[in-house]
């Protein structure tokens, strides 16, 4: 539904985006990852038509991005903010109307979300009277009130306590089930690992990775395992695998091992079982963060 083609954006001293392209499919949960200053916010601002790209084009539902698409995009910026002295009910209605809703429609939707998010009593309150977490909730509602087809959330979980983060997460997943496409942007890559189906990693204005999350992670699997046993191995040299590290923790021995070429886990276990009692075995799948670090600094990567 969103096709980004060769977008570049230059500022006076630096380049924020250098020929970045990506495709976002309808109904996808899309992760836009990268460290601070990678160009994520610049790209999001271009999608939101806050700034214009120097080069490249964006297509929304196969049409060139234009002002009429504003009503179809919901945006939660990283820098959260609301009018401090305005009543929350009125404020949400105002923001929804700016997106193009009629007053009656905006009122009904605001009411619906107030009940859904258990904030009925806040209608007449001012933003400055709310706690930070409550403000975040209001801000979230403001960005999705107009039922956008595409929801862009910049650092969605920062500032939420675990309980509210869970509430927001569930709402996001529900919106996705109802058909909304989501773009998460974050530099805390571990926070979206469990949510995203597709990710793109930006670094220093360039796209360095683009693909289905599981496929990426599978391609970065390197047959490493964590094996927990109750007694240490008696032998240190094996033909099937090598031991990367050993730690003694909670009365157990933890071995990080790497399988040799052409070996499989069964063979490894067969050679261990006579020596000790196995408590658990777990494959080590690289996290997005690991993959990112590896991509950015290939030589220092632990799985290279």
């Amino acid at each position: 539904m969103l096709s980004i083609q060769n977008i570049s954006k230059h500022y006076a001293q630096h380049t924020a985006l250098n020929k970045v392209s990506m495709e976002v499919q309808r109904g996808q949960i899309f992760g836009l990852l990268g460290p601070n200053g990678a160009g994520k916010t610049s790209l999001i601002r271009i999608i939101n038509q806050i700034t214009a790209p120097d080069e490249g084009q964006i297509f929304f539902n196969d049409k060139k991005l234009n002002q009429s698409h504003i009503a179809k995009i919901g945006y939660l910026p990283e820098e959260r903010g609301l009018y401090k002295k305005m009543e929350i009910g009125e404020q949400l209605i105002y923001l929804a109307r700016l997106k193009g809703l009629t007053r009656a429609d905006a009122f009904a939707k605001t009411k619906y979300w107030f009940i859904k998010m258990e904030m009925e009593t806040w209608w007449k309150k001012k933003v400055e009277d709310l706690s930070k977490g409550m403000q975040q909730k209001v801000q979230f509602v403001a960005s999705i009130l107009h039922q956008p087809e595409l929801i862009i959330l910049d650092e969605p979980f920062s500032g939420f306590d675990p309980v509210n983060a869970e509430v927001i997460k569930n709402e996001i997943l529900e919106l996705n089930k109802q058909g909304a496409t989501l773009i998460f942007s974050t530099h805390r890559m571990e926070s979206v690992e469990t949510l995203c189906q597709h990710i793109v990693i930006l670094n220093k204005a360039h796209k360095i990775l683009d693909g289905n999350l599981n496929e990426i992670r599978n391609s970065y699997r390197n047959s490493s395992f964590k094996i927990v046993v109750d007694n240490p191995f008696t032998q240190t040299n094996f033909e099937n695998f090598e031991i990367l590290s050993t730690t003694f923790l909670n009365e157990c021995w933890q071995y990080y091992i790497k399988l040799n070429e052409a070996a499989n886990l069964n063979q490894v276990l067969l050679s261990i079982i006579p020596q000790t009692q196995i408590i658990s075995v777990q494959e080590i799948i690289p996290s997005i963060n690991d993959i990112f670090i590896e991509r950015v600094t290939p030589k220092a990567g632990s799985y290279a």
Partner: protein, 437 residues
């Protein structure tokens, strides 16, 4: 357009519903009326203190010839100077005018007192002495006092302006006052409402709501909506002030007139009681009449519509600049460096206006200042009560409209970049760069 209207209505309603708006709306006319009343009281009651001057005239020329004035009362004594001086120590409030017998030769005329005599007192006495001497000399030359009295012309100049509608009475004083008041109001309003626009922009920027808003509307729409919304607040305030003060003044003058009897009578009585000699006060026009008459001759509909036009035009120019400044900074303390070039033309015009234009409304300086869009709202308002040729007015109006279209365009280019810039100390060079983005 619908979105701009939404922004206008939010900006407007959120300000008009504030308590401070209501307070300002009622407080200002009340203060105005109070000021008016105080001036009025001073006018009617006058300076109550009548200064006593004892004349010790050794020459004999001036004896019994001084005329009592509103605040001057002459008595004549004939003691030795030493005794008179001693007496003076007992009457601390009075002055002793000593004229030496040979004053014409040695110039020995003194005013003796415990407190310092005012400049007015001395000028008044000098003037009177001059008149007395002249009369004496004319009499000595054989000219009759009756003829003299006839020859003495009592007049004050009535200014008449010749226009297409015929002759009109004008009063320079009243015209100048109208020019002063209207231009002062515009001057204040540009500062007050311009600063409100600036503060509004800074508020949105520092609240970080700006990004949410500009993801829904174009920055230009937001800027325009804010400017027009606050401008509407200003207009509402002015209209309420005009309505409130006119109704309050008419109510007040009605009460004063019926309560205190006829004002003119009162003034007349006053002059009779304070003056032994009526003649001094028998001027054909008394000051209040003059002002009233002059106010009648001014075309208020014309002045008020000009006032509203120049307020709106000037406001649009300056508020756009204020908005650009607001967008360039993170908080109000940083605005200083950009404020000066904006406020300078305003302050400059106001000072020049109060000193030069008001005295010479048709000078070329006045002409240019009332044509240039940045200065015309103030300069032209001073000139308008004096009468401005239609072609000049039209030129000024056209340039003002062109001026605000231009400044709004320039400001919006800076604004759209500035609102998304945080944590940067901005220089003028930077602003120019933003403009060309």
């Amino acid at each position: 357009m619908r979105k701009v209207f939404l922004i206008i209505s939010r900006e407007y309603l959120s300000r008009v519903q504030k308590k401070s708006f209501l307070i300002m709306t009622f407080l200002v006319p009340t203060l105005l009326i109070a000021m008016y009343a105080i001036i009025f009281l001073i006018f009617v009651k006058g300076d109550n203190e009548v200064q006593q001057v004892k004349v010790l005239d050794k020459s004999g020329i001036f004896n019994n010839h001084f005329k009592n004035q509103k605040n001057l009362n002459f008595t004549y004594i004939d003691y030795a100077l030493v005794i008179a001086k001693k007496n003076l120590n007992q009457h601390k409030e009075s002055f002793l005018l000593y004229i030496d017998a040979n004053y014409a030769k040695n110039g020995n005329i003194q005013i003796l007192s415990q407190k310092k005599p005012g400049l007015n007192l001395i000028t008044d006495i000098e003037n009177q002495m001059q008149t007395i001497l002249q009369t004496q000399r004319l009499l000595a030359a054989g000219i009759d006092t009756a003829v003299l009295n006839q020859a003495e012309a009592q007049f004050s100049i009535t200014a008449k302006q010749i226009s297409e509608e015929g002759e009109k009475d004008t009063s320079i004083g009243a015209t100048a006052i109208i020019g002063f008041v209207t231009s002062f109001l515009i001057y204040m309003a540009l500062f007050i409402y311009g600063a409100q626009v600036m503060r509004g922009v800074i508020e949105e920027k520092s609240n970080r709501i700006i990004e949410v808003i500009v993801s829904s509307v174009k920055p230009f729409q937001l800027m325009l909506g804010k400017i027009l919304g606050i401008g509407a607040v200003g207009l509402t305030q002015f209209l309420l002030w005009i309505i409130l003060s006119t109704s309050l003044t008419s109510a007040a003058s009605f009460v004063l007139v019926t309560d205190g009897g006829n004002i003119k009578d009162k003034i007349a009585q006053k002059s009779v009681t304070t003056n032994g000699d009526n003649k001094v006060n028998e001027l054909p026009n008394n000051p209040i009449n003059n002002v009233m008459k002059a106010i009648d001759t001014l075309d208020f509909v014309y002045i008020i519509s000009c006032f509203l036009f120049y307020f709106i035009g000037g406001y649009l120019i300056y508020s756009a600049l204020f908005a650009a400044v607001g967008s360039a900074v993170d908080n109000e303390t940083e605005t200083q460096q950009f404020m000066l070039p904006i406020t300078l033309p305003l302050i400059f015009t106001f000072i020049i206006g109060m000193n030069v234009i008001i005295n010479n409304p048709d000078s070329s300086l006045a002409f240019w200042l009332s044509i240039i869009p940045f200065t015309s709202p103030i300069a032209m308002m001073i000139r308008i009560p004096f009468g401005v040729p239609n072609c000049q007015l039209a030129l000024s109006v056209v340039l003002l409209v062109a001026g605000f279209v231009f400044t709004t365009w320039v400001a919006s280019r800076i604004y759209r970049v500035g609102i998304l810039m945080y944590g940067k100390k901005v220089s003028y060079k930077e602003l120019v760069k933003w403009f060309f983005y």
